[in-house]
Symmetry: C2
Subunit: 1023 residues, 2 copies
């Protein structure tokens, strides 16, 4: 029988069939169970019914169940024999879990039934161990089986259970009732929820409830099956049917999962950790998840079931000395209590770690000194621990260097970059100490309500959320806060887990802190900290400080530095940084950047002492253009008589405007003389010319002053980056971004520039844009006001030439933003080269200048072949390219992106490059460009340049370099190496539409299966 036709797969008994490679027919859960059993891990035995059986059931219905039954019967008897042998107890009932195991996860859609096999005789046996446990198990099974497999409405049992709980409460507290039944009968129709917990009910009450449940079934004409085999068969069929529940169908329809896949069914023997003091249950990590040190680390509870550990009612014991905490330092360890079991656990742990080549997080149960491994998975750990474990494993030769690099995620590195308290500068004492649950030192204002966090953050505050403890509904608040402080909970508390997952500093269990939610304050010792007060939490040490204390960037631990060196050996992609200031440039070099990929020059204009003059420049630029246009219009009118002389003049002044460098050279004098001549004959021209020259003077003076300022900036940055390329982007934002907005600013600008307020306001009104993103910005500003671009180019080239003259190596690259047409580039390339010629001649140096373009609009990508001819490099601005390709404004996307991700889009395209759409147009551009110019240098300077999955795309698309913010440079180095060794990107677009077949046929199929389903229902209720 080929594996495709084999229906039942056994594991954990004498032999194990299947393994992780068969997940497509065994489901994930089943395949993993087989895998563990195969390598000799003591997993509870069982068998899997493959997905094909489910498909067959869809086709044949009830008939198929009959065919299946003898096989299941055989398996059950084998299983019973096997486990009886191990338990050395023939009478111990075989209880089973029957779980669905789909190939594709469909959370909450499919059914699971526990304790199958729980018959009256099983009950009798279990009662011997623990009566309450026995009845509770029975009651749960009846409830679960009846509602899932027999179709009895669930709420009937739940209400019944609640009534008994209430009755017991009344019986206990109010008195006057002979027994609980009396209290129950007395409840009548009045019904109130009880304050008791389930655990408060004694065995006797559980018994009553179980019996009552059976009565309910009887009343509905249902005999509860006492035959374990029948229970199992009904459970299997229920799991099969759950595949075609209306909801599951709708879920698949929404998520485009094929109806044909079907589910596997896992049938596993249940084992019990509550069989006495030689039993127990626990969890462990194969290495310390906080430090990465190599020893078993975990805890356990003797004589307990799994739920008890989770419920947190009892304090768990440590498994060994290394795992002890303040809470259990006085309890014995597993190693002491059951040294043989501990030894076996060590062996199993080593085996699992070696097999999975990863630190494992293992759940185990000990049933009467017999160790059972219920689950193993890769253990969660801190970033620092992960780096240590990975580097250690490379050294232990457990994994290769490449494998090691693959395992480091960017988050591991970025967490290490979380700031630490600067101990040298620290002067204050901590006011409290808790558990250092998630690394990083951070200050913020205290807020107690998760809801308020969002409000305050939106209002621009940094907020630390302070709670007794957090719960899932606080997630949003946690996401907005810069850090979390709780007074309760430990390292595995909700707050700790979530904060670590989000990479957010957290101190938990700071027990000295007394939080008073009502008065919005917390007290610690005699200090009162109110909402809005500033505190600092140190997630590295667990300290809490009042106010903000000095923090600094963490130094990379040894292991991180080593890992990045390995990455550098591997990667092909260059890594640059986006940096606008000398400070940024220094940080970038420190983190290993190989150049500046994006220097945004507008930041030079925004400096406080410069902005007034910059505003003046903008206002004059507009005026200058206006006066120029007036003059040109007059000359144009005059030239309409066809006089070649006037046509010449017209072309002359056009050239002055298009090549503004002419204006500052001598060329303008000739043309001006001609205009003067002509002015003698034409009054309007004379007037216009004189107005024009007036404005011209002021405008060019202003440009010169600003040029000197920014030249200094360029010299400084070029010096810091000596020997490395620096890509300077000419001014990009729309000019109105530089203008004053508030009345005070307008007044101030007016005073400083001498331009009337009314004029400034008029300009503001004229510059207002409906869609500024698609407006007058980037090279468009350059085309409208070439004087401003020329001034910037002069500053860059003069700065470069002066440094070159002084012996420094400077590699300037000038980049034009928002290009959509080769003509833009051709024009400015011309202009820039003219200026370059002049500067080189004047300074007698050669400037190794590159000229390139941003690629940020689809049209540029579509014309990339033509554009490539005129540039030395492309730099993709993926932010804007995403906005225009997708038609989504990043600023506005917040209004609907939550509705879109993940229902329509698999992720937010502004954090991770939209590979199928934006990526496709990038590929088109690269192909066109490289066809024309095979060695064209291509980089990216959008924020995606720091995103690992996007880097992987850029690598495979053939980019030369990426440019990220300075603090993302190390992550980029790592990601570039991972891209080289082909780590698949994590969240590529789900190719879900591949699953969806012709809808019509699907719908028909559904109708077909509905018949089977309905039939089942009839059978069920008539039973």
């Amino acid at each position: 029988m080929s594996s495709e036709k084999k229906i039942i797969w056994r594991f954990g008994m004498d032999k194990t069939e299947g393994g992780k490679e068969l997940a497509h027919i065994l489901g994930n859960k089943g395949a993993q169970l087989c895998e563990m059993a195969k390598i000799g891990i003591p997993v509870p035995p069982g068998f899997i019914i493959s997905t094909q059986a489910c498909s067959e059931y869809m086709r044949q219905g009830e008939k198929y169940m009959k065919k299946l039954k003898p096989y299941v019967e055989e398996e059950l008897s084998k299983l019973k024999n096997y486990i009886s042998k191990i338990r050395k107890d023939k009478d111990f009932p075989l209880l089973l879990s029957v779980r669905s195991g789909a190939v594709v996860s469909m959370p909450g859609m499919m059914d699971t039934i526990l304790n199958v096999g729980m018959t009256k005789s099983a009950l009798e046996y279990l009662k011997k161990i623990d009566e309450r446990f026995a009845y509770d198990t029975w009651r749960r099974f009846i409830q679960m089986f009846s509602s899932i497999a027999l179709g009895v409405p669930k709420n009937i049992f739940e209400e019944e259970f609640e009534r008994w709980k209430k009755a017991y409460e009344i019986y206990l507290n109010e008195g006057g009732f002979s027994d609980i039944e009396h209290a129950y009968n007395n409840l009548g129709n009045k019904f109130e929820r009880s304050k008791l917990r389930d655990i408060d009910l004694p065995a006797s009450v559980m018994k009553k409830i179980s019996e009552r449940f059976l009565d309910i079934l009887k009343e509905r004409g249902i005999d509860f099956p006492e035959d374990p085999l029948e229970q199992v068969m009904i459970s299997i069929e229920a799991v099969f049917r759950s595949w075609n529940s209306e909801r599951a169908i709708a879920y698949r329809r929404i998520h485009n999962i094929s109806d044909d896949l079907g589910t596997a069914v896992n049938i596993v023997a249940m084992v019990f950790g509550n069989m006495g003091d030689d039993s127990g249950t626990g969890v462990l990590f194969t290495r310390n998840p906080n430090t990465g040190e190599k020893y078993l680390w975990g805890n356990f509870l003797p004589n307990a079931q799994g739920e008890d550990v989770v419920a947190g009612i009892r304090t768990p014991y440590a498994i060994n000395e290394e795992s002890k905490s303040s809470a259990n330092k006085n309890f014995p360890t597993l190693k002491e209590l059951m040294p043989d079991v501990y030894k076996e656990l060590q062996k199993v742990s080593e085996k699992l770690e070696s097999h999975y080549k990863e630190m494992q997080d293992i759940e185990f149960t000990i049933e009467r000194r017999k160790l059972w491994i219920l689950q193993t998975r890769t253990g969660k750990r801190t970033a620092r621990a992960h780096l240590k474990i990975t580097y250690d494993m490379i050294k232990e030769k457990k994994i290769s260097e490449k494998e090691g690099i693959k395992r480091i995620t960017p988050k591991h590195l970025s967490e290490l970059l979380f700031p630490v308290v600067d101990e040298e500068k620290l002067k204050s004492e901590p006011i409290a100490k808790g558990i250092a649950a998630s690394p990083g030192a951070v200050y913020g204002k205290v807020v107690f309500s998760p809801k308020e966090v969002e409000e305050m953050v939106r209002a621009g505050e940094r907020v630390i959320l302070v709670r007794h403890e957090t719960s899932p509904e606080d997630i949003k608040g946690i996401a907005f806060a810069v850090g979390i402080l709780t007074s309760r909970g430990g390292e595995t508390s909700h707050a700790a887990v979530v904060a670590r997952a989000m990479g957010k500093p957290a101190v938990v269990g700071a027990e000295d802190i007394f939080i008073d939610y009502e008065n919005n304050l917390f007290k610690v010792k005699d200090i009162e900290v109110k909402k809005g007060d500033l505190i600092t939490i140190d997630g590295n040490t667990g300290r809490v400080f009042l106010g903000s204390v000095p923090v600094k960037e963490a130094d990379f631990p040894e292991e991180a530095v080593k890992i990045l060196e390995i990455a550098d050996k591997i990667r092909r992609l260059g890594v640059r940084a986006n940096a606008d200031t000398p400070e940024d440039a220094r940080v970038a070099r420190k983190f290993g950047a190989e150049g500046i990929g994006l220097l945004r020059t507008e930041h030079m204009f925004f400096k406080e002492e410069r902005i007034p003059l910059v505003r003046k420049m903008i206002i004059l630029a507009r005026k200058y253009k206006q006066k120029f246009d007036e003059m040109r219009n007059i000359i144009q009118c005059l030239s309409e008589d066809g006089s070649p002389e006037m046509k010449k003049l017209l072309s002359g002044i056009n050239m002055l405007r298009y090549f503004p460098k002419f204006q500052r050279g001598k060329s303008h004098e000739v043309v001006f003389r001609e205009i003067e001549e002509k002015s003698k004959e034409d009054e309007r021209l004379a007037k216009s010319f004189s107005e024009y020259t007036d404005v011209r003077k002021g405008f060019f003076n202003t440009l010169s002053k600003i040029k000197e300022w920014i030249k200094k900036d360029f010299k400084e940055i070029f010096s810091v980056m000596e020997g490395l390329p620096v890509t300077v982007r000419l001014i990009d934002p729309p000019l109105h971004e530089f203008l004053p907005k508030s009345p005070e600013e307008i007044k101030d600008t007016s005073e400083k520039s001498g331009i009337p307020e009314s004029e400034i306001m008029e300009i503001l009104e004229k510059l207002r844009e409906t869609n500024p993103m698609l407006g007058h910005r980037g090279v468009r500003v350059g085309i409208s006001y070439p004087e401003i671009y020329c001034m910037q180019v002069e500053a860059i080239l003069e700065a470069s030439s002066e440094l070159i003259k002084s012996g420094k190596k400077v590699l300037p690259e000038i980049m034009l933003p928002n290009v959509i047409d080769p003509e833009e580039i051709k024009y400015f390339r011309n202009v820039i080269e003219m200026i370059q010629e002049d500067v080189e001649k004047e300074m007698k140096v050669k400037i190794p200048l590159s000229i390139g373009t941003m690629m940020e609009f689809p049209r540029a990508c579509l014309l990339a072949g033509e554009i490539a001819k005129f540039v030395d490099f492309f730099s993709f601005g993926t932010n804007d390219l995403t906005q225009t390709t997708m038609g989504i404004s990043r600023d506005d996307s917040g209004k609907f992106i939550d509705d879109y991700v993940p229902m329509i889009l698999p992720y937010n395209p502004f954090s991770k490059l939209d590979v199928v759409g934006v990526g496709k147009i990038i590929k088109i551009a690269l192909k066109e460009a490289r066809d024309v110019k095979p060695r064209l240098k291509v980089g990216v300077c959008g924020e995606h340049g720091g995103d690992p999955d996007s880097i992987s795309f850029f690598h495979s698309a053939g980019f030369d370099y990426i440019s990220a913010s300075p603090y993302r440079v190390s992550i980029a180095r790592l990601s570039a190496a991972q891209a080289e060794i082909d780590v698949p990107s994590k969240k590529e677009k789900k190719d879900s539409y591949l699953h969806l077949k012709n809808k019509k046929s699907q719908r028909e199929k559904r109708k077909g299966t509905k018949a089977v389903k309905n039939k089942k229902r009839v059978r069920k209720t008539s039973k």
Copy 2:
């Protein structure tokens, strides 16, 4: 000698060499001269020096001129012989025009010298004819030749001329001067411009000036060449040199014209119409340009030069009776004065019309009864005349049907659509009558200043510009006005010509009108019309009315109807209309639309009586979503304990939200019951659920009411379009567009909806968008608020089914806007089909429904293959696609588009599809889509659907249909036919970058030629 090497090309003498096919070496001007001569038209004889000579000169310099000289000498002597024979006058001097003739037009860049050959002996001869004319010709020649060919600064002559003019004025007016020389010497350094015109100077003064000009040259060491051959050689060299003037180089650099092309030189004998009463000069059209009637139509001036006709100093005579106007009705005609010449003119006209197969506009000169044709070109005409001429020519078999269709431009048709005064409803009398200069009846407010026109139009007014007459500087004002009225000027006046060119109604020469610019009013009879008063002008009849009079659409003239029928036979592209109302739909059908390609449903919401409820719907939709999300969040939190029951509930409510039809069916009841159950245990859920159900009620009620309203609209439109497809686009604009903006509106909305003003303002604030174009709109609104989209779909399908039930044929097509991902379509296709199933079942009909998508974002184009799988049709929304592909907001493009067109972009991409960019992505989309679904229906519904060049693109790209506004439908029919017969689109992207070679090599070449240029200059000045 092959034609490539032949340097001198003779024409109009005994033989003519070359023709229009040789424009690439003869230049355009030269090639046309040869062409005319070749077919026996009496053009003044001459010869052309080809562009190769220019190239040779660039290489060899002066040396080449020496080689060329004997050839030119030979040509001159032949020319002199030939023309002497014709003139029967050996002594008549041979004067020549020497003109540049580049292959690519470079207006004003290149030089022309007239009257070459003007020596002292020539002067003596010409003096015999007219002394003043002789000296004026001499003075002009010295001035032109010296400045262009000898390099003497032009202003020296101009100033000298002005001084003499002033001197003459003083001499005339002030007295006390012995002669003009006295007055001249007395001027000293004081210099003032004279009020005299050039024409006021008598021969004696012209003589003085000429002599003074020669003195000036002598003072500069320049002997003015007296040898005609030398004059010609120097002139030729000057034209050659002008190719490499700095400006010409810069011009070519800017316009990317290759430096290698060179210029040809046209040397043509000058002829004179001012040689007595048997001479003259004139212009004519071969058919009447206003009506299209077939007779010669033109006028002439006896004993005059060309300039005199243009100058408008004398009233020209008609050439025949048919051409007479009120101004010249009493003058004799050319036919009467010189019947033989008129007869020859008739023959020549017929020959030219037959040769060029087009009505011609001919310039002629008669020199002593000898007819010379100076120029012929296609004659401008009115639209109505053009249609008549074209249709007549088809009937005359001069051209084919296809050729006829090719010749009609959309403007011809659209001009015919200009409204006419509705004579039946007309009650008022005209206040004035002028010449009907440009067709169309239009009303507007009177404005006298062209500058104010723009202001008022921007402020939302319709304006008629009223002027004495207009001049080129008024162009902008004319462009903004809806019509032009002048009190002076005739059919060829500036106002008339420009208005016709712009297709704007104009009445000119309304002489009864007295305009008083100072007081901003005009008077006619005893009526005073002030600025801002309303008038109507009727450009069809020349009438002017006070106030606005009833106008109506013109009926297509017979010829237009016939031509469109021919077009329909030819075209393949379907033509639909964009229509939002039953009225639009009716117009569309009338003009021949084959369906509605775009029905914008938002217009149904904007109706005044509906908007309050629509606003309520929007506010409730947001509230509903919010309450729903709150409830879902609670359930999500509750389900985080992993309980499958809660997970099921979660998926249940998700489904209700995603498939809102469930909410109105029974499905919701089951889920609601489950929530109610769960609410018993969770207070927060109970509260949230009750809030949710409250909002739900109001929201769904509102939806139902609106549905009933819009269902009625759909029924009406579907009925009008019975049997034709109607593409309904679901709601597209962002929701904030429907909300009230002003405080009054907000108050009103609050009162009508019961929602507090503060809440409305809060919503407005929350909905505000930075880039609404890229914001929360189109299908994104549908995804966020599926309830609204579902309501629309229900209305469409219910309307359809009711009409089908009543026996009507309805073809609804539902279209989703702003799609970027196949998931959007898949989701809504699912939803729509669910609704369709229900409606069909309920109404027992089959609805022939198509589901399609707008293609308006690049990402949709890139994923077209995937998207195509789930739709029946694509409709390209080229407006938005242009905005996003080019990154240009149409609303904001006005801020810089003038700087871009034509310097960077050849045309405004919002009026004509950007074929190289947007067109490319459309082609990519079509390829991807048709690979998947070869028969996918593809149309366009952006405004480009009405633009002929764009239609040509859509045709060649393989579109199935275009959709234009109802009034553009006839133009679309024509353009579609033209596309089929492959009329090349007129303004495709200039492929200028193809010209630009490697820039470096170009620059070097320029440097090389500079040497030659400098050398020349040296030679010249040393002479």
